[in-house]
Symmetry: C2
Subunit: 149 residues, 2 copies
DNA sequence: ATAAAATCTCAAGCGCACTTGAGATCAAGC
DNA sequence: GCTTGATCTCAAGTGCGCTTGAGATTTTAT
């Protein structure tokens, strides 16, 4: 049993079968096919999907992960250095996301505690008074998460 | 200018006008209406929407925020204690989210660094070997974020 | 050999958080 | 008074990340 069926891969990763097919459509994984046209996965693909789930849980959209995973070797199974390379690429972004979350939490604490409660004016809640600029888009404070497209 | 029009509120909060109307439909805010049927907002509503944006940025769905905001007084403008009360309610959930993110980051670091690379078996990546249980749903590691519904 | 289970390919639907558009009404400036 | 801009409602569309369903084919077990 060198290669896995999609059902086996689903069982190993905890993903649903349609979800795995969806990831394929999004370019995250590219299985082989057997004579009958059924998908056949290498063991390394379990790792690949585990990575996807974790990175996705950290807030990365599938499209970004497709880019990152494109950095893994094709043909040869990826080794330690390969995973380390693409992971370090994400580390900076991960740290940034966590930092942003912590900053927001602290702002929340700080402003509730400070008693000013003028959230529309308070520098903590509205750093740089962006709201007064031109009221264009809600980009302040939020970073790029779930930006209205 | 005791009350704000929706356009003014949009300018003050950085939100779009349709977004504010959407929040109303979701039960997050309930403006008064003038004689002509136009929405009129109190100053405290700026705070209310600022709170919504921040909490939303922290990962809370609008439905949850509607619940939380229902804890604010009606008629009387909310005071420091009101905001403090509903914020502390969220604090635990916020801390939990941050902790989860940090844990995932550390797991990522740890397993890339540890050299085992057997993500499907490694206790760090797959605590409790949940994948082998019955392959039902992808609930391990992820918490409740963006759970397939 | 055959019945049952797994897989295949489309296509459509869903939940969330909005955006966009149409057509009508209200408000404000000149 | 009249035009212009803001606002109204309702409906439909968007992007993401899948799920669900239909109908056909392949694989596996007996």
């Amino acid at each position: 049993m060198a290669l896995l069926s999609i059902g086996e891969l689903a069982a190993r990763t905890g993903l649903s079968v349609p979800a795995i097919r969806h990831y394929e459509a999004m370019g995250l994984i590219t299985p082989l096919r057997n004579a009958g046209g059924h998908r056949r996965y290498a063991r390394a693909d379990i790792r690949r999907l585990s990575f996807v789930r974790i990175a996705q849980g950290l807030g990365f959209p599938l499209a970004r992960l497709a880019e990152v995973l494109a950095g893994l070797p094709q043909g040869r199974p990826p080794g330690r250095e390969d995973w380390a390379r693409i992971s370090t690429g994400l580390r900076a972004e991960i740290d940034e996301r966590i930092a942003r979350l912590e900053a927001l939490r602290d702002k929340l604490d700080g402003c509730i505690g400070c008693g000013c409660l003028s959230l529309d004016k308070c520098a903590l809640w509205n750093p740089g008074d962006v709201a007064a600029r031109h009221g264009a888009g809600p980009r302040w404070l939020m970073g790029d998460r779930h930006e209205p497209g």
